[in-house]
């Protein structure tokens, strides 16, 4: 580093801003390649062309409908998968008997690549919403199920003993000890489940849909409009990240006690980075 680096510049580099440098450079390079005619526009439209096609789709009045139906599918599939996973995970985590009954079967089902269910779901449930939502639910199910089970199993037995000493049992034990002790693992499962729900909504919409962001992808391919494909990918990224952030914010409210610990660790790592920068 040179002496010309200002204090403010260093602070920005130490913070989150440093992560924006590379994508900004890549975008600039991408735009330049397109402007100079090096990249073929029928395969790789410029970033500005992608934004323009987003605007056109919006002005045509069809974009919000695509977004809406995709969000609805993700939400319903995620809620359905999470609900079933929470019940079964709680059961297998809490009771060794239920674990012996259910877990081997569920683990066996887990080893089936979930996309392999598509044909049979379409056959059983039709080509419309039911099969799509079921597929998304299957995707969201496993991480939530596994984390719920592991979270409950890993609750510190010594804390449970303290609760029993003070007369907690049944629902009170669940509410005061098992639930709060399980929540951190549960939220990890929810985040992973939501990520898979987004992955599976693409699969579900690619397999046959007349609307949705996934349909936009397919439509862009079939009508030779790469800008639309990239616009749909951009929207997936934005809504996927936004929904994850919403879940993190929700989780923070419930597991603040754990978060404050993570914050301390982050601050320590950040301070170490700062110290290293100062040395340079």
């Amino acid at each position: 580093m040179t002496k010309r680096f200002t204090r403010a510049g260093r602070a920005a580099l130490g913070g989150g801003a440093v992560g924006l440098v590379l994508p900004a450079l890549l975008l600039a390079l991408w735009e330049a390649l397109c402007r100079l005619g090096i990249a073929p526009p029928n395969l790789l439209p410029a970033p500005t062309a992608v934004l323009r096609s987003l605007r056109d789709l919006w002005l045509a009045g069809e974009l919000w409908g695509h977004i809406e139906i995709t969000l609805l599918r993700v939400l319903l599939g995620f809620l359905l998968g999470t609900a079933v996973a929470t019940v079964l995970g709680a059961l297998t985590g809490y009771s060794p008997l239920w674990r012996r009954i259910l877990d081997p079967t569920l683990q066996a089902l887990r080893s089936i690549p979930s996309i392999a269910w598509v044909p049979i779901f379409v056959l059983w449930l039709g080509i419309f919403e039911a099969s799509k939502i079921t597929l998304i639910a299957v995707g969201a199910f496993f991480p939530v199920y596994l984390q719920t089970m592991a979270g409950i199993q890993q609750v510190d037995r010594k804390l449970v003993e303290v609760a029993r000493i003070h007369g907690y049992g049944g629902a009170a034990l669940v509410r005061r000890v098992l639930l709060p002790a399980t929540l951190p693992a549960y939220f990890i499962g929810l985040r992973a489940g939501l990520g898979l729900a987004w992955m599976f909504v693409v699969a579900a919409e690619l397999m046959g849909a007349s609307e949705g962001l996934g349909f936009l992808l397919l439509d862009g391919q079939q009508t030779g409009r790469p800008a639309n494909i990239l616009a749909a990918i951009l929207l997936f990224a934005i809504f996927g990240k936004a929904s994850d952030l919403a879940l993190v914010a929700l989780g923070r409210r419930f597991v603040a006690w754990q978060d404050s610990f993570q914050n301390a660790a982050e601050k320590k790592a950040h301070a170490a980075d700062q110290a290293r920068l100062q040395e340079v």
């Binding site: 000493i165 003070h166 007369g167 000890v177 597991v255």
Partner: protein, 252 residues
């Protein structure tokens, strides 16, 4: 008073405790020392109602102990605080049976007694080891138990913190006079705190000797008579002479 009558405990044919008889007077402090595996922690867990004796009984004021009860408070080697609750909420945790409006003042009073009044809002992870153990003592004391059981309560702490918590425990005892039964592998700790030291030996777990420590408190840790008892207890445990048939896993 607390009576431990003919208590035996077997695990799969292995005799962890054999015919333990130990009457404890109200307000008495009894320290139990012994080598690893002599069953001293098991005995404490039976008295606390966490485990059932294979035979024999524990009777508190004429009532047989069959499970955990509010008259008996427990302190473990680890603080065992709920990490998601503040220090005050951890203490209130022991007051589930009390009306809501009583919990907070009682918890704050208990925290004040262990010198943690200023840390009521802190989370357990923000406390040092000694402070966390004081919080767990506050939780054990908040319901004003008649008997306080402590299972190696200070063994995870450094020597200075240990001394200060020992003094602290005696202050609490002077103020509230609970019957205290504690397990330790620190002979000096047992001698400084106890009215009576019970020496246990293993295979099967049994009471080998008892010493009444009739010295006024506070006691000096360097007191000559404590050294005398210490030597006798070391002999009881075959640890007095270097190279004797001492149990190899036992460290002083």
């Amino acid at each position: 008073m607390l009576q431990i009558r003919h208590v035996s405990k077997r695990f799969d044919g292995f005799a962890a405790l054999a015919e333990i008889d130990l009457p404890v007077d109200r307000g008495e402090i009894v320290g139990i020392v012994g080598t690893s595996g002599c069953g001293k922690s098991t005995l404490l867990r039976i008295v606390g109602g966490l485990e059932q004796a294979s035979s024999g009984s524990v009777v508190l004021d004429g009532v047989a102990v069959s499970g955990p009860r509010p008259e008996v408070g427990l302190v473990f080697q680890e603080p065992r605080l709920m990490p998601w609750l503040t220090v005050r909420e951890n203490v209130e945790f022991a007051l589930a049976k009390r009306p809501r409006e009583q919990r907070r003042p009682l918890a704050d009073a208990a925290l004040a007694r262990v010198g943690l009044g200023a840390f009521a809002e802190a989370l357990p992870q923000q406390l040092s080891g000694g402070m966390a153990q004081r919080a767990s003592i506050a939780r054990a004391l908040v319901a004003r138990p008649q008997v306080l059981l402590l299972d190696e309560p200070f063994s995870a702490l450094d020597a200075f913190t240990r001394f200060s918590l020992q003094d602290h425990l005696l202050d609490i005892w002077r103020a509230e006079q609970p019957t205290m039964l504690f397990v330790t592998h620190d002979i000096e700790e047992a001698l400084v705190l106890s009215d009576r030291v019970v020496v246990m030996r293993a295979k099967p777990g049994r009471i080998h000797a008892q010493y009444r420590i009739d010295l006024p408190r506070p006691r000096r840790r360097t007191e000559a008579r404590l050294q005398h008892w210490k030597e006798r207890i070391l002999e009881d445990l075959d640890l007095a002479v270097k190279g004797g048939d001492a149990e190899p896993e036992f460290a002083i």
